[in-house]
Point group: C2
Chain length 338, copies 2
DNA sequence: ACGGACAGGATTAACGATAATCCTGCAAAA
DNA sequence: TTTTGCAGGATTATCGTTAATCCTGTCCGT
């Protein structure tokens, strides 16, 4: 366990100054003459000194670390955001710590505690579901944080997300505009705000086009996820009484498309499909798929901006940014054949 | 910055014990009677106490954190490994900290220092290139670590990787066995051991089949990466004097396949292609592609095992595990037409 | 009744760094 | 000369925990 690490004291001993002076030299205190700083720094480098940031943080109250807490790493979209967050935070003098994963919510609380426990200076939090207790922990501990990608019911706090409602609406308008009357809607995790908002936006579009709810079969998220895991998606596609299919995410849509092809159905001739995520933006060699795109990079960089702002001005009122989304029409939706 | 966090002292004050007793109660010291422990724990929970793990680590010398250092998060394969490492380390009582990314090597050293600075108990390191200075830093600081995915020239240390040489060999044998005589080999980053080993294994196969080096055009990694970034891959495909193409990774192969299709060439009729990574294992809805698969999950779990072992027994001799790879034949290679 | 053993905790001293003060000497100002 | 200023550092007190040691009372055996 790195028993014999070099400490400030060792460096001090080696170059004839006190611990304190060495500390200040290494931090570039201008009150020390250039010559002393250089001498000390050279000694430190020569000896391979590495600051113990635990001790440093403990004393100074600043760690220079930002935690990113996320449940779903299996997601290229997230990887992109991570890259953006990393580069922008690094530029602002912070390091990023990814506390990750597993899809279980208990872990979420554990990770938040862990981040607080390690005295990070702020948290970029991607909540998976509607869980306010997590938020309360951060608030009670005075921890600056920004909620990303999702909103939490009835909680007003710094938040950057895409306009899922508009996304659902666009999907609905696109399909209804082509003349579709009967739909299959394959949901995502039912408690996620994205699912709720997308479905709501979609339903809004349906209403505006005068399509009755009874024409829309909504498959709950758990069933979809379970079927995806079991490779039994096909069962969910019956009965084939719809002409348009909306899916909560591309990672479900693609397997669905394979099933449909396998069943001898042609897209978009027999069935139209519209999806969310536009993975093809990240993996251009995927098959074409009309999909709603949320600009993750913008979520990431706005999130960073809000967080840094919050750290500097703890008393500012909360800020919510809802970014517009956009439909990439890649031709998997067409007018239904009667 | 979380100014007013609850400390042990607060809890102690609230329930009438000393700081030390509270600390021991929360850690479950058996020398304290059950009743006291319960009382203290309840107070701590009620007050929302969160241990300051910085102070704890500083004093005890153990952080319970393992750092994973990686340059390339843009990789599903890596995400899988991460999941495995996380679950296995958690089970052993450790938290995982991902220190990430950016493809520049300078950052690598920064991240290693950062991990040491934060007193992690061990490092799982995915080196990007052949850089021994990084290794030396960990060694000098007595930090247990395991090298994953790559080897570093002339350095013997705990190491888990896949048999890239065998992978290259299998690719070569597969194609040469089908009768191919002229090849295009699109390399990866030239200083990575994977590239070196794969090419070497491939060349070995070529020799065994009596194919002269002059029949193999090797495109250096930088050119490939640059072309991929610029979308100018097509230029690298000329002249079309080969019948078989080997590519260092699927993420290059897929765009290449699109280019070839665009040029009116059919796979495998006109050109055979064999690649590395078998991304389809992670993204099953990708087009078929004959590719060499390295079992990342096994790399991850063996890596964790070696690291835990190293932490417990610092003086054991270094252990190297080279895992076998496997060719997934998905039909993108066929005998050449004369 | 007396020495031990032990339960149940309290005291004290670190861990390695930084913040806040405090000292010392020399040079310029009064 | 005396004062003042300040460059250049040294001292000291924490940060929140945990390790090591020490104390106090009670119960026991002999």
């Amino acid at each position: 366990m790195a028993v014999n690490r070099i400490t400030l004291r060792d460096v001090a001993g080696a170059c004839g100054y006190t611990v304190n002076t060495v500390s200040r030299a290494l931090r570039g205190d201008p009150r020390l003459p250039e010559s002393t700083r250089v001498k000390i720094r050279e000694a430190a480098v020569r000896m391979g000194y590495i600051r113990n940031s635990l001790a440093s943080t403990l004393r100074s109250g600043r760690s220079g670390n930002i935690a990113v807490i996320v449940n779903d790493v299996h997601n290229l979209h997230f990887c992109n955001m991570l890259t953006v967050m990393d580069s922008e935070l690094r530029q602002a003098g912070y390091n990023i710590m990814v506390l990750c994963m597993g899809l279980n919510e208990e872990l979420g609380e554990h990770l938040i505690r862990s981040a607080i426990s390690q005295s990070v200076d702020g948290i970029l939090y991607f909540p998976y579901m509607n869980n306010r207790s997590h938020i309360e922990i951060m608030q009670k501990n005075n921890m600056p944080f920004v909620l990303l990608d999702r909103r939490i019911q009835d909680i007003v706090t710094d938040n950057v997300r895409c306009d899922d409602r508009q996304g659902g609406f666009l999907a609905g308008v696109h399909l209804a505009g082509l003349g579709h009357k009967k739909y299959l809607f394959m949901s995502g995790e039912n408690r996620s705000s994205s699912q709720i908002d997308r479905l709501e936006g979609f339903m809004q579009a349906m209403r505006e086009y005068g399509i009755p709810e009874s024409n829309i079969r909504v498959v709950p998220g758990e069933k979809v996820e379970a079927a995806l895991a079991d490779s039994t998606l096909r069962e969910l596609l019956f009965p084939l009484d719809y002409t348009a299919l909306v899916s909560f995410r591309d990672e479900v849509s693609y397997p669905v498309m394979l099933e449909l092809a396998d069943m001898g159905l042609e897209i978009p001739r027999d069935i139209s499909i519209v999806s969310f995520d536009h993975l093809r933006g990240d993996i251009p060699y995927l098959p074409k798929l009309t999909s709603i795109f949320s600009e993750g990079q913008s979520v990431a960089s706005n999130g960073v901006r809000l967080l840094l702002n919050r750290i500097e001005h703890p008393d500012l009122p909360p800020q919510v940014i809802v970014l517009p989304v956009r439909l990439f029409d890649e031709g998997t939706a067409a007018p239904p054949v009667k």
